[in-house]
């Protein structure tokens, strides 16, 4: 039998709406795919899903009723991984969740290949989130906004914003994901999602000097000095260093790029 592919807009609500449609239409071989990944083929059965908050809410509510809080977290974090087949893996998990007699344990069956795979993906997403908590380097702009540009491997910015809001409650800050072309901006009251043309496709860290606070460079120099002085040369271990700070992140890091 042919599979039916549900094509959605890439948002979490869109994904949940797709799940709703799968159940509503009792599709036997469903697939869910992001618009951007979908390549139409003559033999496919496909259906474009229109994101519907109401339908998404119903699915999420159902998940909330039966799943453990960790499973909910697993579903959302795995989704943010943007892995090509993550929708289908999650659909598998959800089907299990809706049919098992032990829904609270569903994410803990590490002897199930797909569940184990999802748990590993979540681990990667969480690690990337944690890395962004660590590797964001703010620069103070002339309009007094601590600004950083990032390009994380996964779409983790929504997970980071709470952390930064708790921490930097008394300063304005902006973190921009230049790959996904959106950012979060904290205006001392609340967090807003923003799209700023200026930051799109800007090479990381190329925020031009004229936009920055006059002392900004000097602080970066101090930080670099600290980084160098706190190193113990006779214990040098570059392999370990690179393991913890993989090269692809160096572009974020003042101490690795120089000033």
């Amino acid at each position: 039998m042919k599979a039916t592919t549900f094509i959605y807009d890439g948002t979490f609500e869109g994904f949940l709406t797709s799940v709703f449609e799968v159940y509503e239409k009792k599709v036997v071989y469903p697939k869910i795919m992001k618009q951007e990944h979908y390549k139409a083929s003559f033999f496919d059965i496909s259906e474009v899903v229109i994101t519907d908050t109401h339908k998404a809410d119903r699915v999420w509510k159902r998940i909330n009723e039966i799943a453990s809080s960790n499973a909910k977290r697993t579903i959302y974090h795995a989704f943010l991984s943007e892995q090509p087949t993550i929708e289908n893996d999650l659909l598998y998990l959800l089907k299990k969740l809706f049919s098992t007699s032990t829904p609270k344990l569903i994410d803990k069956d590490f002897s199930d290949q797909i569940i184990l795979k999802i748990s590993k993906i979540v681990k990667m997403v969480d690690r990337e989130k944690h890395r962004m908590d660590a590797f964001v380097r703010f620069k103070l702009t002339l309009d007094n906004i601590y600004t950083a540009i990032i390009e994380p491997d996964f779409n983790v910015l929504p997970l980071n914003s709470v952390h930064f809001k708790n921490r930097y409650a008394d300063q304005k800050w902006l973190i921009y994901d230049s790959r996904r072309k959106y950012g979060v901006f904290y205006n001392l009251i609340e967090i807003q999602t923003v799209e700023i043309e200026f930051f799109n496709n800007i090479a990381l860290d190329k925020i031009a000097k004229e936009y920055l606070c006059p002392n900004e460079d000097a602080f970066q120099v101090l930080w670099k000095q600290y980084f160098d002085s706190t190193n113990i040369v006779s214990r040098k271990n570059l392999k370990l260093h690179i393991k913890h700070v993989p090269k692809r992140y160096w572009k974020y890091l003042v101490e690795k790029r120089g000033v």
Binding site: L105, A148, R167, V221, H244
Partner: protein, 427 residues
Amino acid sequence: MNFERIKEKLEILADAAKYDVSCSSSGSKRTNKNKGLGDSSGMGICHTYTEDGRCVSLLKILLTNHCIYDCAYCVTRRSNDIKRAAFKVQEVVDLTISFYRRNYIEGLFLSSGIFKNGDYTMERLIQVAKKLREEENFNGYIHLKSIPGASDELMREAGLYADRLSINIEIPTEKGLKLLAPEKNRKDFIQPMQKVANEIIQYKSEKKLIKSTPIYAPAGQSTQMIVGASGETDAEIMYTSSYFYKKFNLKRVYYSGYVPISYDNRLPSIGSDVPILRENRLYQTDWLLRFYGFDIRELLNKENPNLDTDIDPKLSWALRNFGNFPIDVNRADKNMLARIPGIGLKSVYKIINARRFRKLNWEHLKAIGISLNRAKYFIVCDSRTFESKDRTAAQVKGLILGSIKSKFHHSYSNQLNLFDGQQKIIS
């Protein structure tokens, strides 16, 4: 801010502080309540790593490297001919805040050489912390050094602003201390440590009755021992460590392989290797004691005063107690699973959950991520094939060393798993 001058001071005073290996920023419960700056209620964050692979979480500096003492193992000792410098209190405050706001650090770790006397020095450290908390509304992490000889009143005050306090034993044995720091007395660092321990206990009991009790050193106390400076055995180090964990309820003991910094003939000479592998083994042992349910006497005793270097301490233990194995992974309890070589705590968690659904076989265990090349000699599972049961411990050791020889070469020469988030040290 005079950036040039600050840069010079930073160079000297970060360099002098780097031998203190602690850089933890976890375990505090300080939240950002009043829309101030910073929050240290989460887990610690390493914002970067030095080229030697150590976590950089805090701005770790000395207030000054002027010191009236002459401890042989310390670069700051008064007889050492080096550049001296001192930060002003406000300079440290400003530097901390500007670094924190840029998300470079989790907070400040402030230590100091002892100038004038213990109390005078401790007072200055407290001033920095107090300013950060009260003037800057700073809720980031503050780790202060307890200065040997500081009075009880000052230690009480320090804990009101600091998240963590630490005082380094440095030399594991009293005879070593006599030799290397004859002017120093164990008592001078026990006293502040005892005071802080008492205050923490008192805080915890008062907190239960009165909610508004001001928090006191929520991330507890730690200490550090230098490894390989005074000819001590691993057993001497770890028994001292266990004693301090228990007696003063410490959060952490750090082990710091001695980095030769002096031509003093009481010490390993400049150019000798830093005992990094040994340090790693001590951390593994520490981990086994704190999280894996081992008793110190199982790992180090009269017959075994030093840890094996070729294999990790858990494997050493398992081979010495080979008669207790094999263990059935589908039935053994959590504590027993944690004692199997090649199985870390994360794998224990996965095994316990997964086996509720079905009996586990080699494929499951491999997918979960246990190191079968070690574990397979010590377990049975839901499979028909097993490693032969009539091997001796020595044969098993040979097989394991052989099978991971190439891996060993790498990880030992590079100490790859040394500070591996400090979770994966043992599996």
